[in-house]
């Protein structure tokens, strides 16, 4: 290192200066809070009495015995599975349809993408208006002679509603990512398979799908991690109800912290959430070698 010239050193200094804001930001707003949340999770924290006592792993023991938390984990699981499956399948379907060079493709693409730029809370409010017992959807069902349910007041339909609202909001983004990937599939490969007598489904399964697998991996990761962070939709549509049927993990965390002032316990739940996200992301990256055709 002694041979490094002054000019190179100056270059390094510029480099440190340029990364300083994000590095300090990462320390102050990511690493420090992560450490704090672990520290908090080992304490019993009564905000009203202003006491902060070390209790070791007690909050984690409480988590193991907490039925509410088990329900929240289950709700998160259902929500994530429903969302990811519906989202990926619908996004692929739309992308494949838009890739057929059909008339009106540009307009349809605009339609499918437009909810992405609509404010999330605004989109959710409109859907909650549509899903009321006497709302638009049941109104139109009534015209058809169907008696629609009170969507947001039944446990099963409420969960389905929350999933569907979220799928339509964001599927356009995934569709665009898939569309870009589909455009990268060489026409010659398709043509060669066609001449060999491969049908449309076979060509899709054996050529298109493997070639766009890196994008599917990327989109799955984004969607799964995103599905764990669902908050505004739940708060506006159902408030976690009916009962606690749509109280997903993040909503449970929020309730514990900011409704019941259980900051210590909420921090333990936050640690759990972090571990789940970490494990899911690592698993996805681990599995990529098995089913991804080539690296991005």
């Amino acid at each position: 290192m002694a041979t490094v010239s002054a000019a190179v050193r100056r270059d390094w200094l510029v480099g440190y200066a340029m990364v300083a804001p994000v590095v300090l930001g990462a320390l102050a707003f990511v690493v420090l809070p992560l450490g704090m949340v672990v520290w908090y999770s080992l304490h019993e924290w009564n905000v009203l009495a202003n006491t902060f006592t070390f209790v070791g792993a007690e909050n984690y023991g409480r988590m193991a015995a907490d039925d509410g938390l088990a329900d929240a984990l289950l709700a998160s699981l259902w929500f994530s599975i429903g969302l990811v499956v519906l989202n990926i399948v619908l996004a692929l379907l739309l992308a494949v349809l838009l890739n057929q060079r059909l008339p009106g493709t540009t307009t349809f693409r605009t339609f499918f993408f437009s909810p992405v730029v609509v404010s999330l809370v605004a989109w959710t409010i409109v859907w909650s208006f549509l899903l009321q017992a006497d709302g638009g959807i049941n109104g139109f069902l009534a015209v058809l002679g169907v008696d629609g349910p009170n969507w947001l007041r039944h446990e099963t339909t409420a969960m389905i509603a929350v999933i569907i609202v979220q799928v339509f909001k964001n599927v356009g983004l995934n569709m665009i990512l898939f569309l870009a990937a589909l455009q990268g599939v060489p026409e010659e490969l398709q043509e060669a398979a066609r001449l060999d007598g491969a049908g449309a489904w076979r060509r899709f399964r054996s050529i298109t799908l493997p070639l766009i697998s890196p994008t599917i991996l990327l989109v799955s990761i984004i969607t799964i991690v995103g599905s764990l962070e669902v908050f505004a939709q739940i708060d506006v549509l159902t408030g976690g109800g009916p009962g606690n049927s749509t109280t997903v993990l993040v909503y449970y965390l929020y309730q514990q912290a900011f409704r019941f002032n259980e900051f210590g316990y909420a921090s333990a739940i936050a640690v759990l959430l972090f571990v789940i996200v970490l494990v899911l992301t690592l698993l996805q990256w681990q599995s990529r070698k098995r089913w991804v055709f080539h690296e991005v």
């Binding site: 480099g15 990364v19 809070p33 493709t105 349809f108 609509v118 409109v126 972090f274």
Partner: protein, 319 residues
């Protein structure tokens, strides 16, 4: 930047039958037997194509109808909204709800709050992410990799994980019910990491020749970044700007944790506050406020949608 990544209708692709190849020239041996089968297939494909268009139109309904329903319902008086059989077009259009939007809450102030916060976050993120992305991609300073990994940790941390400690930090700094946490944390914290990553990937892929030329012309590293690299990164910056703005504009958990007075509320938070004395939503007012929130962004999107879609596609692919 390839323009053919997305199906922006180019003259070549709108030609019907173009993908099936040129019609066989009569003299060749291959074209003879293949021809009749191909014609039959093409006729069937014609039918199938129209069926697919109908399918696309049906699939569009849940994407387009809510926005339509929002805009038209905001013009309906409450009595018409509550009618059992819905009316597609308001029979007795009124702007009453729009007046109430502004009298029940300081809506103009809230609108401005959202707008200026999102603008500052967007500009700040672009600047900070471009600098960091450039340095991580181009300057080989000791510890660069370790620092980059440190920054990347932010990608793994949902904002809900750190909300309790951040709330304590903001509280102890006396910044509750101010906009500071909504501006500073997104620019420097976890939300900016994706932007840093996108900018780094962009600069990694950018050829270095132009920067070499700048160096020969006597520019220092800082000058090369500002005068050469930054102007070249306009497309990546555009993608960063779009998704950063939308993210800030949509922020919901943070405002409801940090903000408590109606004057300081941002739009997503304000929209949920139009409730009657019993806590039930005042639908027409809420939908009017929602329409005012949604339509400007939607209009910008429709005008600049090519940039939107391509920018997001590129950022996503490289991110």
């Amino acid at each position: 930047m390839k323009s053919d990544v997305l199906p922006v209708t180019t003259p070549g692709t709108s030609e019907p039958g173009a993908p099936t190849g040129p019609p066989g020239t009569p003299g060749t041996a291959v074209a003879g037997p293949a021809r009749p089968r191909r014609l039959g297939a093409r006729a069937r494909r014609g039918w199938n194509r129209w069926l697919l268009v109908v399918l696309l139109a049906l699939l569009s309904v849940p994407f387009v109808f809510p926005t339509w329903w929002m805009a038209t319902s905001s013009l309906k008086p409450m009595s018409e909204i509550l009618r059992r059989v819905p009316t597609i077009w308001p029979q007795d259009p009124t702007l009453d709800a729009y007046g109430q939007v502004f009298t029940l809450q300081p809506f103009a102030q809230q609108y401005w709050n959202s707008l200026y916060i999102a603008a500052l976050v967007t500009i700040g993120t672009m600047l900070v992410a471009a600098m960091a992305g450039y340095a991580f991609a181009r300057i080989r300073f000791p510890g660069a990799n370790a620092l980059f990994v440190l920054v990347l940790v932010g990608l793994l941390v949902p904002s809900e994980v750190t909300i309790v400690p951040l709330f304590r930090i903001v509280n102890s700094l006396g910044l509750m019910n101010t906009h500071w946490p909504l501006i500073v944390i997104p620019i420097l914290g976890a939300p900016a990491v994706l932007a840093v990553f996108i900018m780094r990937q962009f600069f990694l892929a950018l050829p270095t020749e132009l920067e070499e030329a700048g160096r020969i012309d006597g520019l220092g590293r800082w000058g090369i970044f500002w005068r050469i690299a930054l102007p070249l990164s306009r497309s990546a910056l555009g993608a960063v700007a779009i998704f950063t703005f939308l993210k800030s504009w949509n922020l919901y958990l943070e405002p409801i944790v940090y903000l408590s007075s109606k004057e300081s509320f941002t739009l997503p938070q304000a929209l949920t506050q139009y409730v009657d004395a019993y806590g039930g939503p005042m639908w027409n007012v809420q939908l009017a406020a929602t329409t005012l929130t949604v339509l400007p962004v939607l209009a910008v999107f429709l005008v600049a949608q090519k940039q939107f879609v391509q920018g997001l596609a590129h950022s996503g692919l490289k991110g």
